[in-house]
Symmetry: C2
Subunit: 221 residues, 2 copies
DNA sequence: AATATTTTTTAATCAAGCCTAAAAATTAAG
DNA sequence: CTTAATTTTTAGGCTTGATTAAAAAATATT
């Protein structure tokens, strides 16, 4: 009962789709995996046979306890490797995803737990996403909201992103927006929903609504 | 012109066989890769078509410059990961080989070079094997000899092993033989070629010829 | 040189994962 | 309720890297 790389990637996708849509449909998976519906059908049957998902034709797939556990452990590996790459190897946060995508399939639990210890049990990855613990329990992030919901005058800390693509993250680099940095909403333009933020040194940043929707923040009390 | 995991493993095997036998024969490769002669033939043709080896049927294979470069870079990755696993994650030296065997196929040159820097450019791996530099140049080890060639009275430092299997390394653990430790040959039994060594605290260790042949040492002037 | 032995190659199969195109099932619309 | 549109499955193929068994080629032996 060994899980292949491809199977692990499917499990991760199903977990994500289940969280957002309640169920992972064939179509959504095909898009997510950049594959075809026919290929998805074949894989779903395999995953069902191995007890990793429950699957009803035409009604989509859901992870079993076992499948969920494997998916969370894969995510744990992925995010711990991202922490390693950024903290220890000094990679920029916009260039670690694809490498972590490979590393997440290497090694067993003992290995990941040693990595976790070496990194001092980090709780969030470089993109602010929570790292599941050794038992596969995902820590919940406290009440983050998309930054476009903040009102003029609000002070907040940037805590996460909805989009971890290198294109988006490089854009944030150019704007000087990083995790942990705090800003105050300075203006909001009703016309296009764009906003202006004031940084700590008083520097102003302008963000399109498209961008600010993808930034997760925590309001300061 | 992407090199698969299997191809990288073949290149490593060919490099090793070329060093010991001058050429990598089909048969030797089949043994080394735990595969069959038929499978080897197929792979050698693929490697030749990609310009990684020169291959003449019935006369074996040799690496081209390109093939040699790839083989050495794979070995570089393997050994750097072993250093990481032992030095940073505190794995024992007898349990890192299989993990490194997976990790050596992940990531590109930039990645390995950052790992190298993080580890402070180590020159030897945990088994005393030299780590090729960023250009793929193997550093040569200075005049190591198998420990069975040392004579009674000789003082030496353990610098390497010929066999990196976990069985052998665990046996050395039990005997208290580690890299960097120094001993003096105390006795040699002509009957079976076994030897007795005296350690620093005067403790005696007995080694079969089978074992002492696999330990590489440097004689103290 | 002729035969026997070893080594290598060919040929036919397999399994995992993917693909495209056609058929079938389901859901949506009239 | 019947037809149309969408979604999913089946069927047939492809690629990579294996396997076994038989054929062919190269060595070794007499
Ligand atoms: Mn990632
Ligand atoms: Mn991440
Ligand atoms: Mn090794
Ligand atoms: Mn080693």
């Amino acid at each position: 009962m060994n899980i292949s790389i491809s199977q692990e990637n499917y499990l991760k996708s199903i977990l994500k789709l289940e969280a957002s849509d309640g169920v992972a449909t064939n179509q959504a998976l095909a898009q997510n995996m950049e594959s075809t519906p026919a290929a998805v059908t074949g894989m779903l049957r395999k995953l069902m046979k191995e007890g990793l998902i429950e699957y009803e034709a035409y009604h989509g797939a859901r992870l079993t306890e076992s499948g969920k556990h494997h998916a969370l452990l894969t995510i744990r590996k992925h995010r711990l490797w991202e922490v390693f790459l950024v903290e220890k190897l000094n990679f920029p946060w916009d260039s670690v995803h694809s490498l972590a995508e490979e590393l997440e399939h290497v090694g067993d639990e003992a290995f990941v737990n040693r990595l976790d210890e070496f990194l001092n049990h980090p709780v969030f990855d470089p993109h602010g996403d929570p790292i599941p613990d050794a038992k596969g329990v995902m820590r919940e992030r406290p009440n983050l909201i998309p930054s476009n919901l903040a009102e003029v005058g609000d002070v907040f800390v940037v805590c996460g992103v909805v989009d971890s693509s290198s294109e988006f993250l490089r854009h944030l680099n150019q704007l000087g927006v990083k995790l942990g940095k705090s800003f105050q909403v300075y203006k909001r333009y009703a016309f296009d929903g764009s906003s202006e933020w004031k940084g700590n040194q008083g520097r102003l940043v302008t963000l399109s609504s498209h961008v600010s929707e993808k930034i997760l923040i925590q309001l300061q009390s």
